[in-house]
Symmetry: C2
C-alpha cells in the first residue's frame, strides 16, 4: 500500500454505512477492524469458520486489526489487571472475559488481517508518572510475549509505543520495542484529549528513536491538520474513526476547515456542499438535499456524508504523497495549514468526552 496512508476504522467489520464497493471507489486501501469488538460479537470463531475477516466483510483490500487493548481500557467495565493479562466485563452484556497477550495474538491470527497489533496497556492521559511507568513496562513485557506467541508468517506484527505524556518514558519505550525487531511501530496513547502541541512533542520524541525503514503508525489520529503535522514528523500510517464519526453528525471537511451541513444556512443552498470537491456526494446532490436528509434523520445522510469525508481524506493523502515525491511537502504543508481552520482543542476535547460517555451508555463501542 502507498504511504502515508489514512486507514478508516471498521471496528465491527464494517466501515459504518459503506459497502466494500464504496470503499474501493473512494480509493481506500486499508481498513482497521477491532479484535475486542469482534471477539465479543459475533465471536472470533464465527469469523474464522466463515473463512477469515477479509471474506466475512467481503473486503479484498488490506486489513489491520487492533489488539483490543485500547477498547478494554476505554469501554469495558470492572477491569482487573495483572501480569498474566486483563480481566474485564463486556460493555455489551456484562459477561466476564480474560485476554492475555497470547490470546490477543491467537485471535488476530484467526481473524487473519494483514497487519496485527500487540496487546498493550493504555492508562488515561491523566495518570501519574508512576502509574504510566508501570503500564509502559507491562506493555513491554506483553510485547515480548506477543512476539513469542506469533505463529503465522504471513502477518506483520506491530509493536505499540506507550509512555503517556512523559518524554523520558516515551523514549524508553521506543528504544525497548525497537530492539525487539517488529515489522512496524505504532504510537499509542496519544490524541486522547491532551493539547495538540503535546501530542506533536511526543511523536517527535518517539519517531527519532524508531528504526528507519519500518512503517510508523500514529494510532487514533485523526484530523486533517494532525495528519499533515504527523507526516512532517515522519508518520506513515494514521487510523482514526474521526472522519466517519463526525460525518454522521453532519460535520464535513473542506480545504478551509470543517462545516456542519445541519446549519440552517444550507437549507436553500442549491449548489454542492463543496464546489471544489469531486466526491460522489458533491457531484450528485445539492447542499440543500444533504441538509434535508440530516434534518429528516434519513439513513442516506450518514452514507453520503461518510463518502464525502473519506474522499477528502484519500484526496489529502494523495496530495501529500505527490508532494513528498516531488520534494515539495513542506510548502504543501504550509499552504494547507494556512487555509485550514482547525476545530480547536477545547471543542475536540468536549466532543471526545461526550462521545466516550455516550458509547459507554449505549454499549455500542468505539466505531
Amino acid at each position: 500500500m502507498p504511504t502515508p496512508v489514512f486507514v478508516p476504522v471498521g471496528s465491527q467489520a464494517t466501515v459504518k454505512a459503506l459497502t466494500p464497493d464504496d470503499l474501493k471507489a473512494l480509493g481506500i486501501t486499508v481498513v482497521m477492524a477491532n479484535t475486542y469488538h469482534l471477539y465479543l460479537r459475533p465471536g472470533i470463531e464465527v469469523i474464522e469458520e466463515g473463512g477469515g475477516l477479509h471474506r466475512f466483510m467481503a473486503w479484498p483490500g488490506a486489513l489491520m486489526t487492533d489488539s483490543g487493548g485500547y477498547q478494554i481500557f476505554s469501554l469495558a467495565r470492572l477491569r482487573r489487571l495483572n501480569d498474566q493479562g486483563v480481566t474485564f466485563r463486556s460493555h455489551i452484556d456484562g459477561s466476564q472475559h480474560l485476554i492475555t497477550p497470547e490470546l490477543a495474538i491467537q485471535f488476530q491470527e484467526s481473524l487473519g488481517a494483514d497487519i496485527i497489533m500487540v496487546l498493550d496497556e493504555c492508562p488515561p492521559h491523566t495518570e501519574t508518572l508512576k502509574g504510566v511507568e508501570e503500564a509502559t513496562e507491562r506493555t513491554h513485557r506483553w510485547a515480548e510475549r506477543c512476539l513469542e506467541a506469533k505463529t503465522r508468517r504471513d502477518q506483520a506484527l506491530f509493536a505499540i509505543v506507550q509512555g503517556g505524556l512523559f518524554p523520558e518514558l516515551r523514549r524508553k519505550s521506543a528504544r525497548f520495542l525497537s530492539a525487539l525487531g517488529f515489522s512496524g511501530y505504532a504510537i499509542g496513547g496519544l490524541s486522547l484529549g491532551e493539547p495538540g502541541a503535546l501530542t506533536n512533542d511526543m511523536v517527535t520524541e518517539v519517531v527519532a528513536l524508531l528504526p528507519e525503514g519500518k512503517p510508523r503508525h500514529l494510532m487514533g489520529v485523526g484530523s486533517p491538520e494532525d495528519i499533515v503535522a504527523g507526516v512532517s514528523r515522519g508518520i506513515d500510517i494514521f487510523d482514526s474513526a474521526l472522519p466517519t464519526q463526525v460525518a454522521r453528525k453532519g460535520a464535513l471537511f473542506t480545504r478551509q476547515g470543517r462545516f456542519n451541513i445541519r446549519n440552517s444556512g444550507y437549507r436553500r443552498k442549491e449548489g454542492p456542499f463543496d464546489p471544489d470537491c469531486g466526491c460522489y456526494t458533491c457531484r450528485n446532490f445539492s447542499a440543500a438535499y444533504l441538509h434535508h436528509l440530516f434534518r429528516s434523520q434519513e439513513l442516506l445522510a450518514y452514507r453520503l456524508a461518510t463518502i464525502h469525508n473519506l474522499y477528502f481524506m484519500t484526496d489529502l493523502m494523495r496530495m501529500i504523497r505527490e508532494a513528498i515525491l516531488s520534494g515539495s511537502f513542506s510548502s504543501f504543508r504550509d499552504d494547507f495549514l494556512a487555509h485550514y481552520r482547525p476545530t480547536d482543542d477545547e471543542v475536540r476535547r468536549a466532543q471526545r468526552e461526550r462521545w466516550l460517555s455516550a458509547q459507554s451508555r449505549k454499549g455500542t463501542g468505539r466505531e
Copy 2:
C-alpha cells in the same frame, strides 16, 4: 415504464438507505414521494428552487407523488375537515396548515413528478357506512376540483377510488371517477389492516368498472402475495413501503416466504441468506455477516437488507411480466402461491399497528 410495476416509497425524497445508483442497479423504474412530508420538510419552495424533485433527489427515473391525503389522515394531528379542505397540525412541530385540493395540485406541479394524485379523504377502515359515504362524496368533489386546478400538461393526474369496505360505495366511486376522465386510477383506503380476502373483493369490484387502457394503481400494496393476487385482478401499479420497511427490521423475502435474519439460526450460516438470489447482498455477503450487522445495529445492515428485498420485488415483477407476455401468468401465480408462505393477517395487522403508533410517537412519518 413496463407494467405491472412495483414502486418503492421514498416519502422524504429518498428511498431509505439507498442512492439513486442503487435503485438503478436494482432495476427500479419509478419512485413514489410524498407531498405531505415534503411540504412540511424541506418545504415545497426549497425543492422548486432546486430545480424540482427529480433534480433534488438526483433521480433520473420516473417519479410519482402522493397528494398527502393518506398522511394527513394517518399522521397529522387535530384535523378539521370541511368542503374547502383539511386543516391539520404537523406531526413534526405542531404547526398548523390548510391543504385544499387546489393547493395539493399546485404543490405537486411545483415538485414536478411524472404522475401526481388527487387529494382524497381516507377514513379509517372501522368507519361506519354513513361516515365512509360522506368521505367518498367529498373525495369525488375534491377530484373534480383537482382536475380543474391542474395546469401542467406534462404530468399525469390519477384519481383515487375510495368507498371503504362497502362494495356499493366502491362501485359508485369507480363509476363517478371513471366518468371524469383521469390519466389513471388508483384504489385507496385498502390494505390498512382489514383481512386480505376483503381487500381482494374490493379490488375486484372496482377494477371491473374502471376504463380499459388506463393504468390501475393499488395504493399501499405491498406484500409479494398481495401483488400477485392484485395482478390477477388487473392491477398495473403497486406502491408500498412494506418491502423496505420490513427489511430494516431484518425480515427478508425468499420464494418460500419472509424470514428474519436476526434469528439466531443465522449466526453461523456461512453461505448467503438465499442461495437462489442474485442480489448484491447475497452475491457478496454471508447470512452470518448480515446477522452480525443487524445484531450490532450497523448502518450497513439496513442498506444490504433493503437491496435484497427490492431486488426480490423487481425480480418478481419481471417474472410476472414475462409470464403475462407468454400467456402463462395463471400457472406462474399458482406456482408462486403454492411455494410462498405469507405472513398471516394477524401478524401483519399487529406489525402495522405497532408501526403506526411508533410513527406518531417519533413524528418521523410514513417511510
